[in-house]
Symmetry: C2
Subunit: 340 residues, 2 copies
C-alpha cells in the first residue's frame, strides 16, 4: 500500500483529494486570485469579538465548506488534523472543537498545510481512515498582535518583511474516490535545517535551506527531475526566499527556475498591494493551494504538482534570546486525475 525510498513515502494506491475549500479576507480578495476563493470575509472579525476567535472561525468555515464540496459529513471523517501560528494553536482547537472528529493537533508553523496533508494521506493509504481533513490558517491581525506590534502602533515594516495572509484552506483526503479526482502520489517529510539566520524580518531566507533540502531529497528518492512537473509550488518563501531557494538548488545542479512559483508571490499583487516580499503565514499556502492550484489540477490544466509548504520554527522568545531560526519543509506530490 505504500513504499519508502530514502525519506519519501510513495503510495501504491494514491489517496485522492475529495474536496477542498479556501476562505480569505478582504486584502487577499483584492489580489490576483480573487475569483478562485470559496469564501471571502470582508469583516476582519468575521462577526466574532476578537481576531483570535475570527481566525478560529476561518478554520471552521474552511473545513465545513471542504466537507460540503466533498459531499461527506463530519461523521465520515476519521481524523481532522491541523494547526496554526497562534500560541498553543488555539485557532485549531477552538475552530475544530464542534465537529466531533478525532483531532490530531500539529505544529509545523507555515509548513502545517503540507504536514497535515502528508499525514492525512498516510492515514488514508494505510487504512487508518477512509477520509481525513487537513486544515491550516493564519490571520494578519492576530499574527501582528502576537509576533510583532499591536496594529494601532503603526510599526514600519522592513523591505524583507512579508505580509501575514488572513485565510484558511482545508483539503479532504480520501482513501478512495473517482478516477478524475486529484491524487496524492508521494510525501516527503523534511528535516529541520538551520543555517544561522537570525533576522526575524527575513523569514524567506531562514526557510529556503529547508525547502532546498526537502526538494533535493524528493528528486533523489523519486529519481525525477524538475521538468517532470508542471509546477513546483513553495509555501511562503516570498520574493527573496524564492530567489535563495533557486540559487541553493542550482548549487546542487537542480534547476527549478522554469517550474517554480511561490504562494507568497501569487496571493498579492506585491507592488500595488505594498506587501514587500509577499504573503506569509500558514493560511498563505493553504488558501492558494485550496483555490487556484487545486482547481487547475482538478481541471487538468496542471497535471503534476509538487506542493511544499515551509515553516520557520522560532518564537518571539527564542529570537529575543538570540537564537537563530530553524525551519522545516514538507512536500506532497499531487497528480491530476483528468485525462490529457
Amino acid at each position: 500500500m505504500l513504499t519508502k525510498t530514502g525519506s519519501t513515502i510513495f503510495f501504491e494506491n494514491p489517496p485522492v483529494v475529495r474536496g477542498y475549500a479556501s476562505v480569505v479576507g478582504k486584502k487577499e480578495a483584492n489580489g490576483p486570485l480573487k475569483e478562485h476563493f470559496d469564501v471571502i470575509c470582508m469583516d476582519s472579525f468575521l462577526g466574532q469579538t476578537s481576531f483570535e476567535k475570527a481566525e478560529a472561525q476561518l478554520q471552521n468555515t474552511a473545513v465545513s465548506r471542504a466537507l460540503q464540496k466533498a459531499g461527506i459529513t463530519a461523521d465520515e471523517v476519521g481524523y481532522v488534523m491541523g494547526g496554526d501560528l497562534l500560541n498553543q494553536c488555539i485557532s485549531s482547537s477552538y475552530g475544530l472543537r464542534d465537529f466531533g472528529i478525532p483531532f490530531l493537533g500539529l505544529y509545523g508553523a507555515c509548513s502545517t498545510m503540507s504536514e497535515s496533508m502528508g499525514l492525512a494521506s498516510v492515514l488514508c493509504a494505510c487504512g487508518a481512515a477512509e477520509n481525513c481533513a487537513a486544515v491550516s490558517s493564519s490571520h494578519f491581525c492576530s499574527a501582528e498582535r502576537q509576533f510583532r506590534f499591536p496594529l494601532n502602533y503603526g510599526g514600519q515594516r522592513t523591505p524583507t518583511a512579508q505580509w501575514t495572509v488572513t485565510g484558511s484552506g482545508s483539503v479532504v483526503i480520501g482513501r478512495e474516490g473517482s478516477a478524475q479526482m486529484p491524487r496524492i502520489r508521494a510525501v516527503t517529510f523534511g528535516k529541520i535545517e538551520d543555517l544561522g539566520v537570525t533576522d526575524i524580518n527575513n523569514m524567506g531566507a531562514a526557510m529556503a535551506p529547508a525547502a532546498a533540502s526537502t526538494l533535493a531529497a524528493f528528486f533523489k528518492d523519486s529519481g525525477s527531475k524538475p521538468s517532470d512537473y508542471d509546477l513546483i509550488l513553495t509555501g511562503d518563501l516570498g520574493k527573496l526566499g524564492s530567489d535563495l531557494l533557486i540559487r541553493l538548488l542550482m548549487d546542487n545542479n537542480i534547476n527549478i527556475r522554469e517550474r517554480h512559483n511561490d504562494c507568497g508571490k501569487m496571493i498579492y499583487d506585491i507592488e500595488k498591494q505594498d506587501t514587500h516580499c509577499g504573503g506569509s503565514g500558514c493560511g498563505c499556502s493553504a488558501s492558494v493551494l485550496c483555490s487556484k492550484i487545486l482547481r487547475d489540477i482538478s481541471a487538468g490544466k496542471l497535471r503534476e504538482v509538487l506542493f511544499m509548504a515551509t515553516g520557520a520554527l522560532m518564537s518571539t522568545v527564542s529570537v529575543q534570546q538570540g537564537e537563530s531560526i530553524p525551519a522545516v519543509a514538507h512536500l506532497v506530490h499531487i497528480s491530476s486525475g483528468m485525462e490529457v
Copy 2:
C-alpha cells in the same frame, strides 16, 4: 497490517518499544519515582542560559538516551515527532534540530506524548518507517513564566492547581524487535471535548471529560473492560481530575477505580512536596511512562497497560477572552512482551 473499529486502530503486527528514556529535574528526583529516571538534572538551567533553552536540552537528552538504550543511531530513525507547551513549540524545534531526522511537529498540549506514540506506531506499522522517536517535555520555570507569573513574583497557587513537571520522556518505536519488547497493540485518537470549564487553575476538571470520552470509545471499540488491564494510566489529571474521570465513567457503567492511576498523582509525594493537586505538563506523563511504567512493562510486572495522556487546548489569550477550555485525550494500549 492494521484494522480500524470505531475510532480505534488495532495493529496486526504490533510495533515494539525498542527503547525509552526519561530526564527530570531536582523536584521530580525528590519524589517517589526517583530510582526509575535515567537522567536527573540538579541544575534547572541544564547549563543553558535560559529556561527555554534548558527545556530544549531536556528533549535532546531524552531522545539521545532513548536511541542509545534502543541501540540505534539517528540515521536509523525515520521520523521524530514531538511537541511541548511553549509558544510555537520551541523546545522541540531547538531540542531536535541537531539530529537530522525528518521532523513532524505536534501540538496536543499535555496529550502530546500519547499523540506522538500513536502516530509513531501507525507510521511504523504501515511501513512508512522502520523506527520512529516520540518525545515531549515541560519545564516548571518556562511554563510559569509563560502561563502564569515570573518566578520572582512568588504568586500564590489555588488548591486545585497542579505543578508543572520539569522533565522529558522519549520512546523509540520500531516496526520489528525482539519478542520480549513491549508492544503497542492499539491506538485511539480522541475528539475535542469541552464541557465549559473556564477555571485555568483547574485543568484536571477541564480534561476529565476528554479522558472519559476516549476511554469509553476504546472499551467499546475493543470489546474489553477495565479489569482486562493491569493499569489504566492517565496523563496529568491530578487528584481532582482523576476523581472526576472515575465519576464520569461510572455514569456510563464503566468502573476503572481499581485499575486507575494518574501520572500527576505518581510523580510527587503530593502532601510532602506541596504540589496541591499533583504534577502536570507534557513532561509529566512522558517522564512517568518512560521510567517506572515502561520498566515494569518490560519486566513483565505490568502486562496490559492503557496509557492516555490528556491535553488542555487553551492559551492565556483564549482564557483572557472568556473562552472555556477544550481538551483532548489520546490512548495507546501497551502489552508486555515477557512470558508470564
